[in-house]
Amino acid sequence: MAPTLAMQTKNLDFYYGTFQALHDVNLEFVRSHVTALIGPSGCGKSTLLRCLNRMNDLIPETRADGEVYFNDQNIYTEDVDPVEVRRRVGMVFQKPNPFPKSVYENIAWGARINGFRGDMDDLVETSLKKCALWDEVKDKLKQNALELSGGQQQRLCIARAIAVEPDVILMDEPTSALDPISTAKIEDLITELKERYTIIIVTHNMQQAGRVSDQTAFFLNGWIIEAGDTRDIFFNPREERTEAYISGRFG
């Protein structure tokens, strides 16, 4: 496995009960790149995302077969602790979901439970600065995070995720609940963050996938139809179904 890969799936199948949601998924996620997962609703892209940090473990009666490598380690073996996986593979959700605590506490809590011993004020400030949120909230650190706007809440969630120093950040349609201006801010942020983090993003917005991602994988009914450089997928797809989806003929 090449060292430039942050994550990789091999022959990954996933089942909700008896329903198979993923079929034989083989994907590579390049370090410090943004990979977009696209496809119509119910195609399995969110399921794959949640396999990458074992979030699906929390759903009863599900099963994953196959391998998911994170830094050359298969995270689906017995001796891997999913809690540690989730610290190193962070997640940002579709709906902004900050804790109903203060802005400061939202960042600090994750670091504290993970045993952070350094200067907490400093960590909060740098995390917020990395997400271009510091200037907007530096006077509101004691305020409840739910008083922030939707876009600010989502950037706070990203700041919260990077405060525990992950290697990979998974984003599940992070802008679908936001207005265009907030969306643009998040997209800028993604481009800045990819220097230090590997980002995997699920999106329904083709333009967004085109703007922010380096690689793209197109899903249909739990199968990967096509994956590769975003430029190729968008301008030179090998599969007819990929072209049909991207040009908006279905989905």
Binding site: M55, P60, R86
Partner: protein, 407 residues
């Protein structure tokens, strides 16, 4: 050619209008039914409250065995010295009775207030010849005056049975001196024990069942079904259970028919309710909150302790307080477990004999003397006020917590 479709459209329009009218009428009928149902409920409540107040206030006809003016010139016992009061007692009461009082507590060492009370109860000894309800007192005054005329020296007094003395005095065989103190303290002790036992056990079980137990295991399903069934079991059966376990089997630990036995029985009774309420509260915590916690590497326990419990605590607390106020009103299981029928000593530990408000109300209303009905009415008001304040506390706490958490 054109007229046919137009006619069709008009016809269709009329049909729709008629249909709308029909739907409106149907809605109106239901609205009236709901209105009637609410009216019946409100009426029932008003009648209940009026009935209680009716028995608590009213005229009483009192006759003193000895007029206070013959004992002290002013007619006011409070003007007298201790020694004068003791002299009065020794003069008027049998030596046997004086000896008994002395053996309880030496008369010389008692307070003036105590002594005055003894004189009031034993020498002046006011007896209630007859009492009237509030409605009779207002609308039937002629008959009341006629009755008064039959007894010479009897005083007619408008009496509220709910007085400060009623709250302060213990049980007494004569209604005019009977008080709620012992029962009220008994109820407070009971609340404390029920809370201390059922809250931690109930919430802990709810957390286990909701967060840890695997729903696909047969034994967890059996537990779940049984908890729901237990919540519907009649309380007297819990009383029998308490009698068998806490009074008989564990009698060595609980010392028999004591507050702790009764409290544990009531705690068992409301445990299923607390578990069910707490589970619902935990279930209502949105998945997004749990995911955001797991998503940054929190363990299951960290997620529960820092996010799930704080987010559901207001509902858990409300459910628990409502369950406890149900326990406060329970009578049947306590009768079985063995509440004391007549007790004048304040409970001072969990191993005291006890009585509680509902038990006391039940016993007073079963007495043959009519005046105990008035006393029971006053006790009912005390019980209702206690329960209402607990429910109000539940609502206020919930709102305060909810306001702090949700913006």
């Amino acid at each position: 050619m054109n007229s046919a479709p137009e006619a069709h459209i008009t016809h269709r329009h009329e049909e729709i209008m008629a249909n709308i009218q029909r739907r409106r009428i149907r809605g109106k009928v239901w609205q009236v039914l709901f209105y009637l149902a609410t009216t019946i409920a409100v009426l029932a409540l008003v009648v209940l409250i009026l009935n209680i107040f009716n028995s608590v206030f009213g005229y009483v006809l009192i006759q003193n065995e000895v007029e206070p003016e013959t004992l002290v010139a002013s007619g006011n016992l409070a003007d007298m010295q201790n020694t004068e009061l003791i002299a009065l007692l020794e003069e008027n009461l049998s030596t046997g009775l004086i000896r008994r009082f002395n053996s309880e507590e030496l008369l010389e060492e008692r307070t003036t207030k105590d002594l005055a009370l003894l004189v009031q109860q034993r020498i002046i000894n006011p007896t209630i010849i007859e009492s009237w309800s509030m409605v009779e007192s207002i609308f039937d005054q002629d008959a009341i005056r006629a009755t008064q005329a039959e007894y010479s020296g009897a005083v007619l007094q408008f009496r509220s049975w709910l007085t400060a003395d009623f709250l302060r005095s213990p049980q007494n065989p004569r209604p005019q001196f009977a008080g709620i103190r012992t029962a009220f303290l008994g109820s407070l002790w009971m609340i404390l024990i029920v809370m201390a036992v059922s809250f931690p056990i109930g919430v802990a079980s709810a957390i286990y069942l909701e967060e840890y137990a695997r729903a696909d295991k047969w034994y967890n399903r059996i537990i779940e079904v049984n908890i729901y069934n237990l919540a519907g079991v009649p309380s007297i059966i819990f009383g029998l259970l308490g009698l068998a376990i806490f009074v008989r089997l564990l009698g060595g630990l609980t010392q028999g028919r004591t507050i702790i036995s009764a409290g544990m029985t009531l705690a068992l009774l409301i445990l299923p309710i607390i578990i069910i309420n707490s589970r619902e509260a935990i279930k209502a915590v949105p998945a997004s909150l749990r995911e955001s916690s797991y998503g940054i590497g929190a363990t299951k326990w960290q997620t529960i302790w820092h996010h799930v419990l704080p987010a559901s605590f207001d509902r858990i607390l409300t459910g628990t307080i409502l369950a406890i106020s149900r326990a406060v009103g329970e009578t049947a299981p306590l009768v079985v477990v063995g509440a004391s029928t007549f007790i004048t000593v304040d409970p001072d530990s969990i191993f005291s004999k006890f009585t509680t408000l509902p038990i006391q109300i039940y016993q007073w209303s079963a007495r043959p003397q009519e005046q105990f009905r008035n006393v029971a009415g006053a006790a009912i008001i005390v019980l209702l006020v206690l329960m209402l304040s607990m429910n109000a506390a539940a609502i206020i706490t919930r709102n305060r917590i909810a306001k702090n958490r949700r913006v």
